[in-house]
């Protein structure tokens, strides 16, 4: 829902415009002074601001420059009581969206607003098509492409993002990618590990504290929220944030203002929030273990990172990337990867996801030390055991399956073209075996011409005798 702010000292005008714009399904707020209006602009995200020129505490025109400095600054429409040509020229030079007289018709206000919102939408979709910086996000699978599209969407606006996924899927990498691709990329990306912080420390770490706030507070200390000013605050494992802190944080998120522990004055911080969790937050909300208002606020856009077992086609790329990195940064002995090594990686379930895969590669390189090629024997025992057990199990179930299931190609390791080739090979072998090498019968059953069948026998090196 688009958000509109009206800054005008005339209460009647404010109320009329609020009523009109609410009918257009917009969220509308107003301020009667410039100071209050600017506070709202810098603490919330508005799409359009209707700004009066003569306000009791200042001139609206003088505030244009500072409003434009805001990340995702709103479009500005100047309202004036009298048609002032010079003022209109100045406003246009300051690149405001429009300049209208308060005496204008309802239609004039409405169309100016609609066009400003259309322009804003167009501006956002234009930036959403740009190529995004992926950082260390590796993979070409459909699942990863979907996540990257969400990263692109998330980096083109300033709303709170919730990233969920199992441990080790790389949630922090996605959070960093959103930050790196956003307009805040030149400022800090601050990590808060909610799971590591003891309950008595969370509040002072987040909000900071004043000297003497509690025993041991010998000096003022800046909190991480303030440190993330103009940048991004990443709340890792947000599900572990104590309920009482959630309440205080919610206010800081909405108002972009908060009071440090023991502090007398409120301070502001224009931060963007990205949270991550491996927990089922909606379930925690149902169980009253997580505040519902906080959940809805932090999850304006949700991104679900897939587990590695659901995107095994990315394993080869991840291995190559990690080994190249090791060679580059650690001057490590370069290793080649054998097929059976890779086959074992594909066969495993990876409960610890990408993190477990990378640790496994480190382990294998360490085991292989100066051997040029890595084999399955260099893998940790539990992965080899898993694969052997899976093979035995597969063999057993294969034995009990009808003939048509035998010799099926492993779909997770082959592209469609190779898979079809493999099945064709199996089919020709089967038909020759079934007909005991009788070419005429084989042609009849397979509906192949004699020439085509001979060509296939030659191609796959199969004897008909």
């Amino acid at each position: 829902m688009p958000k509109v702010l009206i800054i005008d000292d005339d209460l009647e005008i404010c109320e009329i415009l609020v009523k009109r714009f609410k009918r257009l399904d917009h969220e509308v707020k107003y301020s009667l002074t410039l100071g209050q209006g600017l506070d709202k602009i810098f603490s919330e995200d508005f799409d359009v601001v209707f700004l009066d020129v003569n306000l009791p505490d200042g001139n609206g025109m003088d505030a244009i420059e500072s409003i434009r400095e805001k990340i995702f600054a709103p479009e500005i429409i100047i309202m004036t009581g009298k048609g002032d040509l010079e003022g209109a020229e100045l406003a246009m030079k300051a690149r405001v969206w429009d300049y209208i007289q308060k005496s204008g018709t309802h239609k004039e206000f409405k169309f100016s607003l609609i066009r400003a919102l259309e322009y804003r939408q167009q501006k956002q979709s234009k930036t959403s098509t740009k190529k995004i910086k992926r950082g260390a996000i590796i993979g070409k699978s459909r699942q990863i492409e979907v996540c990257l599209r969400s990263v692109s969407k998330a980096s083109n606006n300033d709303i709170p993002i919730l990233i969920s996924g199992e441990t080790g899927t790389g949630k922090e990498l996605f959070a960093k990618a959103i930050h790196e691709n956003s307009l805040r990329y030149q400022n800090d990306f601050i990590v808060v590990d909610c799971a590591s912080l003891p309950e008595h420390l969370v509040e002072s770490v987040l909000f900071g504290h004043s000297k003497g706030a509690f025993t041991g507070a010998d000096s003022d200390k800046i909190g991480l929220i303030k440190l993330a000013d103009k940048g991004t605050l990443f709340l890792d494992e947000v599900g572990e944030l104590p309920m009482a802190v959630q309440k205080k944080f919610l206010r800081a998120l909405q108002e972009k203002r908060f009071r440090p522990v023991g502090g007398k004055k409120e301070i502001s911080s224009n931060f963007r929030l990205i949270s991550a969790t491996h927990r089922d937050l909606p379930e925690m909300v149902k169980q009253d273990r997580f505040r519902d208002d906080f959940y809805f606020r932090i999850a304006s856009l949700s991104i679900e990172i897939p587990p590695l077992r659901d995107r095994k086609s990315d394993i080869s790329l991840l291995v190559t990337y990690h080994m190249d990195r090791k060679e580059k940064f650690f001057d490590e002995f370069p290793h080649q990867i054998s097929d059976e090594f890779l086959k074992n990686l594909f066969g495993y379930d990876w409960p610890g996801n990408v993190r477990e895969l990378l640790n496994t590669i480190d382990y294998a390189c360490s085991e292989g030390f100066q051997e040029p090629m890595l084999f399955a024997k260099h893998l940790p025992d539990h992965i080899r055991v898993f694969n052997i057990k899976a093979r035995i199990k597969k063999h057993k179930s294969f034995e009990s399956k009808p003939d048509s299931y035998k010799n099926r190609a492993p779909v997770e390791q082959l592209g469609l073209k190779d898979y079809i080739e493999k099945m064709k090979h199996n089919y020709v072998t089967d038909i020759i075996s079934h007909t005991h090498g009788d070419i005429k019968t084989a042609c009849r059953l397979s509906d192949l011409s004699r020439g085509h069948l001979y060509a296939l026998l030659k191609k796959y090196d199969i004897s008909s005798s």
């Binding site: 800090d188 601050i190 990590v191 590591s196 420390l201 800046i222 440190l227 360490s366």
Partner: protein, 130 residues
Amino acid sequence: MKLVFFIHKDSSKKGEILQKIINTNFYGTKCQIFRAFDTLKKSLKREIQLTENEIFILLAESVSRLNELNSFIDLLEGKRIILILPDSSKASLSKASKFFPRFFTSISDTYDDLCDVLNKIINQERIKLN
């Protein structure tokens, strides 16, 4: 669970205090202490224990030490890091944020908070293993 400390051999009194705290508070937890950059770098490359989670606690008792640590920040990518900073200045905090630390404190603080954070991480790891 393994705590990997970096306390440079020239880190003087603050380093000695931290060393004492490790000995008294983390008895029974696997700890390793590095006193030079070269040995720390080597350890980042070797000694891979698959089942072991490591936390790197890096003492930067001076701005120059923080800068030295910063020079091989790439090697620390993906590691869980706790930083002890020379001061709480905006410049130091901004440099610290590039390490994406799980927690940071400064040398002027007591190490009480640091111990609380480490104990919580160690306990969580124990719960996970059980």
